[in-house]
């Protein structure tokens, strides 16, 4: 047992770690590859940064490859992202060509790794066509979709489905995201790592130092949303909710903490929109943090009084789970994965509009006992459902099932 696994056992219990070992036993000797399009920034990279090392700790031979592309490629995949989440986006033929060409070039570099692997995880739409360029693949290929594709723009979904339907399985975060496809579709919600820099315990002095250095007044109430500057996260709606709340709590501050993902060319435009909406309000702190500002995010989430994730579409909000793990109830958009993360009136509130967010924020700020009670429930809920160990258990179960069969029952040990 490695020291790292012991640390996880301290949090989730030895039984859970033992179950992971039992699942790994039939997988001994297999080689696994994960492929996505960015090493840092955004939830996918964050999950892989934690999941891949933990698989290695358990003795699995696993590597993580990142495809590279030029501006046109990322422009195309950003359009896909928007279209899959429901926006009517026409993607020009030239961008589709760049998309396929980029995948062909990456396949040249990765072919031997991918074709010889026993299991290949392809994350999100960016590397989806790689399968087409690996005709001599020997392993099982799994498409892991991290985004809300419950109501995709049909033309784009049809285009991507031509690649996806050749996979051996796919993974979605929620049942409502699953699409009619000719293979097994596993439902595995993402997770957070309780030992990561972003989630580990911080002492009060450290929190105070970090947050104060950002110019935020810890003696006044803090409303926080941590997320990329993306319209689906509705940062402008959050500013509206803050203004409605501030009428009743004049000392309230709003912190919008986000960064830029290398695969999101729109974030700069959205950031400009946010700055315009903030209209130089000194109590609105718009932070553009580097991708490795994990401790800063950790401190902000611990210092916040009210945490929002007012997304209008959301695959699964990792920042929701992070805040809940720190004992904060979350006011989340009533959409996508947030619906399984926030148990309405227990671990937070689900809202449809900025007005709803403001109403719930006022309630929590005026009912501190309720805020704390919901925060305790939120932490327990995350411990039971959304930590990395549960996520890994479900991945390993799927891998055992795909490589060994097992029908509706897999008996281990």
């Amino acid at each position: 047992m490695t020291d790292k696994l012991k640390l996880y056992a301290d949090i989730v219990g030895w039984d859970v770690i033992d179950q992971l070992h039992q699942l790994v036993t039939p997988l001994k000797g297999i080689r696994v590859v994960h492929v996505n399009s960015t090493r840092e920034g955004g939830g996918v990279a964050e999950i892989l940064n934690k999941l891949v090392p933990l698989k290695r700790e358990l003795g699995i031979d696993v590597t993580w490859e990142v495809i590279t592309g030029k501006e046109e490629f990322f422009k195309c995949t950003k359009s896909f992202h928007n279209a899959l989440q429901g926006n009517k986006v026409e993607v020009p033929e030239s961008l589709l060509k760049a998309y396929e060409q980029t995948n062909a070039e990456n396949a040249e570099k990765l072919r031997s790794t991918l074709e010889t692997a026993d299991i290949v995880f392809i994350h999100d739409p960016q590397p989806v066509p790689l399968l087409t360029f690996c005709p001599d693949r020997k392993g099982k290929w799994i498409w892991r979709c991290h985004i809300d594709v419950s109501r995709p723009y049909r033309a784009v979904w049809k285009y991507l489905r031509n690649f996806i339907e050749h996979y051996d399985a796919s993974v979605f975060s929620l049942s409502s995201f699953a699409r009619p496809l000719p293979h097994t579709q596993y439902l595995i919600p993402p997770s957070i790592d309780p030992l990561s820099e972003k989630n580990r315990e911080l002492d009060e002095r450290e929190i105070h130092t970090i947050v104060s250095e950002l110019g935020i007044d810890l003696s006044r109430q803090i409303m926080l949303q941590v997320s990329r500057y993306d319209r689906f996260k509705d940062p402008v709606g959050v500013i509206h909710a803050y203004r409605l709340t501030k009428k009743f709590i004049p000392t309230l501050q709003l912190v919008l903490a986000g960064g830029e993902a290398t695969d999101d060319p729109e974030s700069r435009t959205v950031l400009d929109e946010v700055r315009i909406a903030a209209n130089e309000d000194e109590d609105i702190h718009i932070l553009l943090l580097p991708a490795d500002a994990h401790r800063t995010i950790n401190a902000l989430q611990r210092a916040a009084d009210v945490v929002l994730q007012k997304s209008i579409r959301e695959g699964f909000g990792l920042t929701v789970t992070e805040a809940m793990w720190k004992g904060k109830p979350v006011i989340g958009g009533d959409t996508g994965g947030i619906r399984i993360q926030v148990v309405n009136h227990h671990t937070g509130f689900l809202v449809k509009a900025p007005e709803g967010a403001a109403l719930r924020a006022r309630y929590l700020l005026f009912h501190r006992d309720k805020l704390q009670e919901m925060g305790r429930k939120a932490r327990t809920f995350v411990k039971d459902n959304f930590l990395l160990t549960r996520h890994l258990r479900e991945y390993l179960t799927m891998m055992v099932s795909l490589t060994h069969g097992g029908g509706d029952r897999i008996v281990l040990g």
Binding site: Q22, L23, L181, G407, I410
Partner: protein, 225 residues
């Protein structure tokens, strides 16, 4: 019932988890859900009746199966929700019988409806099935009295496996505890009877564990094994 089993086998305590799998089938109105129930994999019917027990809950669920809950919250049909909520899956010998009961109740409601009840697109019923993964805990007991020590420490997954999932695996569709006790000839018939009085359908697993613990503690407190 389950008499004639191998006698005095040790009882191996297992744990389990469910891996959810989308069937790709979803319903937006009452007719669609009836049609899908008629042909969906029986594992999906099982999942929507029992799978919820392994989810973390903060209070007693309003309804004990996903179909009733959908009727109430997506279709806003309280009458149908109450009728579906009254289905006790333990009363049916197999999932096909349970499926027929579901279809009967829905068809009765469809017959009485002038328009087909429907829901918003984002409230659709998504049919899920599941794969159960069974873990070895390396805990084994040889005497029924030892149940007193092991049951209070069982995980919710263990309780699910031995008390709920067992009904799909055992002769007579009973829980693993009773199946094991039958192996001791007629020594524990009274304890077997007590186990049969626990209704597994209306309690969260932690509460179920407490009920079994109380029953075992009381029994062995009053009887010499």
């Amino acid at each position: 019932m389950a008499k004639g089993r191998i006698k005095h086998e040790p009882f191996e305590i297992k744990d389990c988890a469910l891996a959810a799998i989308a069937t790709g089938k979803s319903a937006q109105n009452l007719k669609e859900i009836r049609n899908i129930i008629q042909m969906v994999d029986p594992g999906s019917i099982y999942h929507h009746f029992w799978g919820g027990l392994l989810r973390t809950g903060f209070d007693d669920p309003e309804y004990n199966n996903d179909f009733a809950s959908w009727a109430r919250h997506a279709l806003h049909d309280k009458v149908l929700a109450e009728r579906l909520g009254m289905i006790d899956p333990t009363e049916f010998p197999d999932l096909e019988e349970l499926r027929r009961e579901l279809v009967d109740i829905i068809e009765e409601r469809l017959d009485a409806s002038e328009v087909i009840p429907w829901c918003e697109p984002d409230e659709q019923f998504h049919f899920i099935t599941s794969q159960i993964v069974v873990f070895n805990t390396n805990k084994v007991i040889k005497k029924p009295r030892e149940l007193m020590n092991v049951i209070p420490a069982m995980s919710p997954g263990s309780i699910f496996y031995h008390f709920i999932d067992a009904r799909r695996r055992t002769f007579g569709n009973i829980d693993d505890f009773r199946a094991w006790l039958y192996g001791f000839d007629k020594l524990y018939l009274d304890l077997i009877y007590l186990f049969s009085t626990i209704d597994p359908f209306f309690s969260p697993l932690t509460e179920l564990r407490q009920q079994i613990t109380d029953l075992i503690t009381k029994y062995f407190g009053e009887n010499v094994s």
